[in-house]
């Protein structure tokens, strides 16, 4: 195209003239080189995409596609340019085009695998939190679930795949023992996640729920990032940033709480302290055990966060000192046995998460846990302490939205020492010192928005057991319709045997226990409704066996135990059908048998109930400014061994049922009155039986019921938040 040059007359100054000429030349180029760009935007199936933004990069020249996907615009650019087509749910397409020659073209967009409705691998995983795409629980649920009493673990026990083991309180997942679940805070192990306790006195989780913004509970088939857990991992993530400065005060029938949060430009600090004393509660509610001194604890937590330009550093520390003194009945002695327990626990966790370079992400951190118990059993004294540390480094590289590769290393150190001092004065010392080094790698692959896979492998070396294990982990997910998808997971898992056994490793050689998981999951999500069905098979091998009534230093140990678990877990949650009502229903069926410990044959262990059903409801009554909740937990009878019968583990308890109720009343925006009571109906639950070691004169083994420490637990609390905006409250703490 030949530009038109207009001669400007009467200009004596040549320079000025040429400037004008050039300027005009420039404009005329602009005017005369306008070309049209046109075409059609379609998705992978060829369907038109309307509302896409099509433009020449770095210019204003562009248009939006209409209902038929067509677009057309003019541009003044020339030559080769980058044509950008963007629409939120698709991957942005960038192509270099010759602007003179781009008419009636079709542009195909690929669906973005990061969009909200893309497939997610859900096999085995139950999520709670803001960031979770498929979450079964909301962060608030942990604390507003009736019967949970602010205990994260108790709220998780309303989810499928868990067992209610009332005399223990810990998480039992899919036929696994409680120690088969490993807890992580910000990706770093917590060696002692539960408060110390004694036989048949339930414990609770150490962590106060309000510091955590996300919880991911995996009941199997989890990532290669996590090891040393046969059944399950519980991942707790602390908040990145608190919302504002505030002071929180709690006055409760069981004690006092005080918290404060301060925010600065780049950092923030939260501190809380609690004093719990169960004396008033024990005075009001009749107790099934004989307390010399009630449960008391003094605990504190603090989180410090610092935001760098490219990352965040978090330091979490918790201290907990607790004690109680009881007289426990024992079928083998006419006198009650006095248990006087003192526990001190300290946990420090620091982690750094950041990005660097070209799409690299780094997560690193370390934790240190110290637990010290002093237990007086009548005149015998047990003192143990455990030092546990975890060092972690993980790197993740995003090659694209469709391919991410991560690899990392873990180092676990555990030192356990126990002194058992008999009344006679003799002292027995047992303990172990284990170092585990592990490396892993894992790839996250999206084949399309519908197909995703996670493939990983973990290798670990345990110096105490002198062994190396390689564990593959694989999972797939396929989205077959807009709201529903299938996932499958397979994985091999290993774990060092329980401290109860390996504290005798000085005299015996142990091997890691092993499990393989196969999980098939179906999930349906639509408008605040979630349905989830999961079926699984777990194969246990290499379990520890011994030949005596109790595990002692002179028992004969081997790793010949084995077992299996299979079952079906169902979950339904609905927060939309009835206004102001949220509810969920969990049902679990399990068929499991084990031959481990000192079992004489492969049987269902005593902590397993074949059927478990939980119904949780929360109803908001606007006129009363109240949330009222009910939780009903049911489990069918649990097996027990009756030595009066020939067959091992042949007995079955009656079914367990507990209906809990809570009521949160918002006195004003920042003042909440909270009331809760567990087992409202006063069901006389029996967890099992303790049989005498020796028969009586008639040759009969006597027994004693194992029952809850009290039939009911009740709680009244007043929670007051003081903040500048007068808006925030502690509903989330309840």
């Amino acid at each position: 195209m030949k530009p038109t040059i207009i001669q400007q007359p009467n200009h004596s100054n040549r320079t000025l003239k040429s400037i004008f000429t050039l300027a005009i030349l420039l404009f005329s180029v602009t005017l005369f080189s306008q070309v049209t760009i046109s075409g059609k935007v379609v998705d992978e199936k060829g369907k038109p995409v309307s509302g896409a933004n099509i433009f020449i990069e770095g210019t204003y020249d562009g248009a939006s596609s209409n209902e038929t996907g067509s677009f057309s615009f003019t541009t003044t650019t020339i030559g080769n340019q980058t044509l950008v087509v963007s629409f939120l749910i698709f991957e942005t397409s960038k192509t270099v085009i010759d602007v003179a020659n781009f008419q009636n073209r079709t542009i195909k967009l690929r669906e973005s695998v990061t969009s909200l409705d893309a497939v997610v691998i859900t096999a085995g995983t139950l999520e709670a939190g803001d960031k979770a795409r498929v979450s079964v629980l909301k962060p608030l649920d942990i604390v507003t679930t009736a019967g949970s009493a602010g205990n994260i673990i108790a709220a998780l026990q309303t989810l499928p795949g868990t067992q209610t083991v009332g005399e223990d309180g810990r998480l039992f997942v899919r036929g696994g023992e409680a120690n088969e679940t490993q807890t992580f805070v910000d990706g770093i192990r917590v060696a002692q996640p539960y408060g110390a306790t004694t036989n048949n006195l339930p414990t609770r989780g150490r962590f106060s729920p309000f510091l955590f913004s996300g919880i991911s509970f995996s009941t199997g088939g989890y990532s290669a990032e996590y090891g040393e857990a046969l059944s399950s991992v519980l991942l707790l993530n602390t908040q990145d940033e608190p919302d504002q400065n505030k002071t929180e005060i709690a006055l409760m029938t069981v004690g006092l709480g005080l918290g404060n949060t301060q925010k600065w430009k780049k950092s923030s600090l939260s501190v809380n302290a609690n004093y719990i004393n169960l004396a008033p509660y024990q005075a009001v509610i009749p107790q099934n055990v004989d307390w010399n001194s009630p449960f008391q604890s003094l605990s504190g937590e603090t989180v410090y966060r610092y935001n760098f330009n490219n990352g965040i550093l978090k330091v979490y520390a918790a201290f907990d000192s607790s004690k109680f003194d009881i007289n426990q009945e024992n079928i083998n002695s006419p006198e009650k046995i006095r248990v006087d327990l003192n526990n001190n626990n300290f946990y420090l966790n620091s982690s750094y998460k950041g990005v660097f370079g070209n799409n690299w992400q780094i997560t690193s951190g370390l934790s240190y846990g110290y637990s010290n118990n002093k237990i007086n059993l009548d005149s015998d004294k047990v003192a143990n302490d455990e030092n546990a540390a975890h060092l972690k480094l993980k790197l993740k590289k995003s090659f694209s939205d469709r391919l991410k590769l991560s690899f990392g290393a873990d180092y676990f150190v555990t030192q356990f020492n126990e002194d058992f001092k008999e009344n006679s004065g003799s002292v027995f010392t047992n303990g172990y010192d284990a170092n585990i080094a592990a490396i892993y790698t894992e790839a996250d692959i999206f084949f399309s928005k519908k197909w995703a896979a996670k493939i990983g492998v973990r290798a670990s070396n345990n110096d105490l057991l002198n062994e190396t294990a390689i564990s593959p982990r694989v999972s797939f997910a396929y989205k077959m319709a807009k709201n529903s998808q299938f996932s499958f997971a397979y994985g091999d898992f290993t774990q060092t045997p329980n401290a109860e056994y390996i504290k005798y490793s000085k005299n015996h050689q142990f091997e890691s226990e092993k499990a393989s998981h196969y999980i098939l999951n179906f999930q349906y999500n639509k408008n605040g409704k979630t349905f989830r069905a999961e079926t699984y098979f777990k194969d246990y091998s290499n379990l520890v066996k011994f030949d005596t009534g109790m595990a002692t230093f002179n028992s004969v140990y081997d790793n010949t135990g084995s077992g299996y678990a299979k079952g079906l877990d169902l979950f339904w949650r609905d927060g939309k059908s009835i206004k102001n009502l949220e509810y969920w229903v969990s049902y679990s069926y399990i068929d499991t048998e084990r031959d481990y410990k000192n079992f004489s044959s492969q049987v269902t262990p005593s902590f397993v109930a074949d059927h478990s059903l939980s119904i949780v409801t929360k109803y908001w009554i606007n006129d009363w400014k109240s949330q009222i909740g009910f939780t009903n937990s049911y489990s069918s009878g649990r097996p027990y061994n009756n030595p009066n019968e020939a067959e091992f583990m042949n007995g079955k308890t009656k079914a367990y049922n507990s209906l809990s109720f809570n009521w949160a009343y918002l006195l004003s925006q920042q003042k909440i009155l909270y009331f809760s009571v567990s087992n409202v109906l006063g069901s006389q639950n029996v967890f099992g039986y303790e049989y005498a070691n020796n028969p009586d004169n008639a040759g009969f083994y006597n027994r004693k019921e194992i029952v809850p420490t009290a039939d009911r637990f009740f709680f009244v609390g007043f929670f007051w938040t003081i903040s500048n905006d007068k808006k925030d409250n502690q509903l989330k703490n309840l």
């Binding site: 040549r14 320079t15 040429s18 400037i19 050039l22 300027a23 420039l26 404009f27 602009t30 509302g51 933004n53 433009f55 990069e57 770095g58 210019t59 204003y60 020249d61 562009g62 248009a63 939006s64 950008v84 963007s86 939120l88 749910i89 909200l116 409705d117 803001d130 909301k138 962060p139 608030l140 919302d243 504002q244 408008n527 927060g575 102001n580 949220e582 908001w620 400014k625 004003s668 925006q669 903040s723 500048n724 905006d725 808006k727 925030d728 509903l731 989330k732």
Partner: protein
């Protein structure tokens, strides 16, 4: 010498034409928005944002167009798309100007849209953050009418629920209306909206 002047002149010319282009483009986008063509308006603002990296206004308007559209949307998926888009655009500018009161108000509005959509879930989670944003904006620009009005309007929602007195917020809304009259936008395209909404809100006060 000739060359230098030519180069400067060229530069000035292209600058002038770019300046004209910005005004023209922004004008066109506002026109589309006025016609109710929200997608087209948002797309054009987005294109301008891509070409003019030094101005925070185009991205601000991408966020504003999509957030106001989201307030009127009932469909969850659509709502999600609109607010995600608004958030992405706002994040780009927030990174550059973390202390811009207008951007802080915009962030508070995006959160408010989420709260309005699902008060049970998002109210508890975001109310504190919204108040903090308004608090921060007020510290930076106490005389900005959108800051004063936005904060008062958000507080009225809470006060109505609790049955507490809304008079102090109404006084603030009145103050905001006064500020709208004296508020001088920095550039012709700087935010100046809000008087109509404030007047309507004041009517509800009485």
């Amino acid at each position: 010498m000739t060359k230098i002047i030519t180069t400067i002149a060229l530069f000035v010319c292209s600058l002038l034409s770019a300046q004209g282009q910005f005004e023209q483009g922004m004008g066109k986008a506002f026109q589309l928005w006025g016609e109710g063509k929200n997608t087209e308006a948002s797309d054009l603002f987005e294109r301008i944002a891509g070409a003019e990296k030094t101005s925070w206004l185009p991205n601000y308007y991408v966020a504003l167009v999509n957030t106001t559209t989201a307030f009127r949307t009932k469909d969850k998926e659509q709502m999600n798309l609109l607010l995600t888009k608004a958030q992405n655009s706002l994040d780009t500018e927030m990174g550059k100007n973390p202390n811009n009161a207008e951007l802080l108000v915009m962030q508070a509005m995006i959160h408010t849209a989420w709260i309005a959509f699902d008060p049970m879930t998002n109210g508890q989670k975001l109310s504190g953050t919204v108040m903090e944003l308004y608090g921060k904006a007020q510290a930076i620009a106490p005389e900005n009418p959108r800051v004063v009005f936005g904060k008062a309007e958000f507080e009225i929602g809470g006060a109505k629920f609790w049955g507490t007195d809304t008079k102090p917020m109404c006084v603030q809304i009145e103050k905001a209306i006064g500020l709208f009259a004296t508020f001088k936008p920095e550039t012709p395209f700087s935010p100046k909206w809000g008087l109509e909404r404030a007047t309507a809100a004041l009517k509800n006060c009485k």
